[in-house]
């Protein structure tokens, strides 16, 4: 069952397509049509849904740790498709796979550009990249949140010009719906060195996250379309693995 309580283009549809390619059938849960509107709790809602025997839930919600709770409440395997500002683990697997495919032996140096504190994509990626011993930093946007985030995760805060040294610049969407504001002017060609690549998990807010000059599909330094291309096989692999484990 696809349970997306927040808007999604990429994650929801790529999960749907990945499942269809594996021969799965999906039920899509539309939050606006649920009895949550009548006052039913999330716990009761998912317990009801679990009686209809889904093999798994894919859950996105603004409440951190809701996917964990759904798993606890129902005993049904849950794939976290984004929970609050906490995590977006499947996106992190796609991003890491994208970099690994480019060079599986490289110890990347990656600089986050944007509001890391409210980014679930940053939290999940960081956990993997730190485990891989990659060199991660974040661009100083002048906010306390960014400094605290860097300290909390033990990564460096670098000045904007420092991102020229990074192999990859990971541009984050400003999470306006979670209270982020634009502290940095958009990423532009002038921020890139010849060797650097840049990524974005999408959706890109053009002209705000990055200048239009970087949004060209054919931009030689962009990995955005690689990320999109890889989302299908990675999510297929995740679905396959989860179902295999559930049936074992």
């Amino acid at each position: 069952m696809l349970c997306f309580f927040e808007a999604s283009t990429r994650t929801e549809l790529s999960f749907e397509m990945a499942g269809l390619r594996l021969g799965m059938a999906w039920s899509k849960v539309e939050p606006s049509g649920l009895s949550l509107q009548k006052g039913e709790s999330l716990r009761d809602t998912f317990q009801v849904l679990s009686h209809y025997k889904p093999d798994l839930f894919v859950v996105r919600h603004s409440v951190a740790y809701l996917p964990h709770a759904v798993s606890e409440w129902t005993g049904v395997p849950v794939i976290n498709a984004g929970d609050g500002i906490n995590e977006h683990p499947t996106q992190a697997l796609i991003d890491t796979f994208t970099l690994w495919k480019m060079n599986s032996k490289k110890r990347y140096s990656i600089a986050f550009f944007g509001d890391v504190f409210r980014s679930r994509v940053a939290r999940s990626n960081l956990k993997i990249w730190k485990a891989l011993n990659w060199n991660v930093s974040v661009v100083d946007d002048g906010s306390e949140n960014t400094k605290n985030f860097a300290k909390a995760f033990g990564i460096r805060v670098i000045p904007r010009r420092g991102i020229r040294e990074a192999d990859v610049i990971y541009c984050l969407r400003v999470q306006a719906e979670r209270g982020s504001s634009y502290a940095l002017s958009p990423l532009s060609n002038s921020d890139l060195s010849k060797k650097s690549k840049f990524m974005h998990a999408g959706p890109v807010v053009m002209g705000k996250d990055m200048l239009l000059e970087l949004c060209e599909r054919a931009h030689p330094q962009s990995l955005i379309h690689e990320q999109l291309k890889n989302s299908l096989p990675v999510r297929e692999a995740i679905l396959d693995e989860v179902l295999k484990r559930a049936r074992a």
Binding site: A64, Y65, A69, G84, N86, F153
Partner: protein, 429 residues
């Protein structure tokens, strides 16, 4: 009539435990004799080498019952308190229905009158604790209540706060304050810290408490008698500093320390698996190590002058939830004495100060200073305990089990608890 003897009976004059005996007649202490056995012709209960001291008084309990019997009933609460060494408890007004009218307070008093422990209700400051319309303070303050409180919620309206402070101070009762500026506390999920950042949870800033404490001390300065002020569950170092400065200026108030704010700091949250994180959710949140140290210092120098459990039972339904939508609060009564004894040991608090904070000060705040003293004529309510025995905490007496101290090892064990000369917990030898 019975005599009790132990090698370690609390002697407040000496500030220590000494060999001694005491007689209980009609539920009251009728004699204390130190350095000797009971008179020869008397039978006595031998408490051996166990420590004997006053039982605890707790000014901060959320009793539930009424429409929340799935969380706790007065009976289960009473059993938990008996085991935890608490003989008198003041219960906050956020029951369902709320304690916001004389009729409801009357109903509460009727329901608790036959319990072994004494429960005294607080009444609400505002109707339904909504912070908008004051309850009938004059009528409520004439009733046998602890005082007024909207605990669980702050009194954001400064005008209401100023008026209620005057009214309660005149009555000699207490105004217990939940200091949280809810416009900035972001739901008080977890203290704003590296931990909250790592866990992907929007943290709650210390300012939410500090601003309110500061505002209320300022308003209280302008009130002739502000002695009713009681700061519940103080959690930040800065609030302790504000209170210390106010005390120096001569402002009168009391302030409490809970076992969870005294024994935990926010980094402990990372020891919990994702679905247990909500056990750590309490308002105000458990703060940083530096705040914990400031609370300890405040306790040692008397700025914080009493312990209180803030016992807040919630069922699995309310707690097996993601932190953001789980209920606030944790239980604390069943192992109240061991937990505050652990604070005593960690803070190196003297026994004198410990009993002041655990029994004397809260009793006097509840106007029980005549009956709840360690002296002839007072209620014979005492605990027999071992202050150093290590025990692993398995909570079973409350209806709820929402505590981060499940399975924790602490020092201190209540062996027996006597209330008004009647044993309510433990076995005699």
């Amino acid at each position: 009539m019975s005599w009790f003897y132990s090698k370690k009976v609390w002697n407040p004059k000496r500030g220590d435990f000494v060999s001694g005996a005491f007689e209980v007649k009609g539920g009251r202490f009728s004699q204390f004799i130190f350095g000797t056995l009971p008179p020869k012709n008397q039978k006595w209960i031998d408490l051996g080498g166990s420590h004997v001291g006053p039982s605890c008084v707790d000014v901060h309990i959320h009793a539930r019952d009424f429409e929340e019997c799935h969380k706790e009933t007065f009976e289960t609460l009473s059993e938990a308190a008996a085991k935890g060494g608490v003989s008198v408890g003041a219960c906050l007004a956020n029951t369902f229905p709320r304690m916001d009218s004389p009729a409801r307070v009357q109903e509460f008093l009727k329901r608790v009158k036959n319990l072994p422990i004494r429960l005294i209700p607080f009444a609400a400051v505002t109707e339904n604790l909504e912070g908008k319309t004051g309850t009938n303070w004059n009528a409520l303050l004439k009733m046998p209540i602890a005082g007024l409180s909207d605990d669980g919620k702050p009194i954001l309206n400064a005008e209401i706060f100023g008026s209620v402070l005057k009214a309660v101070s005149r009555s000699g009762k207490i105004l217990s304050l939940h200091e949280e500026d809810t416009t900035i506390s972001k739901g008080s999920l977890l203290h704003e810290s590296h931990t909250s950042c790592r866990l992907g949870i929007e943290g709650s800033c210390s300012g939410a408490e500090i601003d309110m404490v500061s505002r209320d001390l300022e308003i209280a300065k302008k009130v002739k008698d502000s002695s009713a002020l009681h700061f519940a569950h103080v959690s930040t170092g800065e609030a302790v500093r504000l209170l210390k400065a106010a005390k120096k200026r001569g402002q009168k108030f009391s302030a409490e320390l809970t076992p969870h704010h005294g024994l935990l700091s926010v980094d402990h949250a990372e020891e919990f698996p994702a679905m247990k994180l909500s056990t750590f959710k309490v308002c105000p949140p458990i703060r940083a190590k530096e705040d914990q140290e400031a609370l300890w210092a405040g306790l040692r120098d008397g700025v914080i002058d009493m312990f209180a459990s803030d016992h807040a039972p919630h069922s699995l339904l309310e707690k097996t939830q993601p932190m953001e939508i789980a209920a606030h609060g944790m239980i604390g009564l069943e192992f109240y004495f061991p937990l505050i004894n652990e604070i005593r040991l960690r803070t190196k608090l003297s026994w004198q100060k410990f009993f002041e904070a655990a029994a004397e000060r809260p009793a006097s705040r509840l106007s029980l200073h005549k009956t709840r003293r360690w002296a002839v004529g007072a209620d014979a309510s005492f605990i027999v305990f071992n202050p150093t025995a290590v025990q692993k905490l398995h909570w079973s007496r409350s209806k709820s089990a929402n505590t981060p101290f499940q399975g924790a090892s602490v020092r201190g064990k209540v062996e027996q608890h006597w209330i008004n000369g009647v044993r309510v917990y433990g076995e005699t030898r």
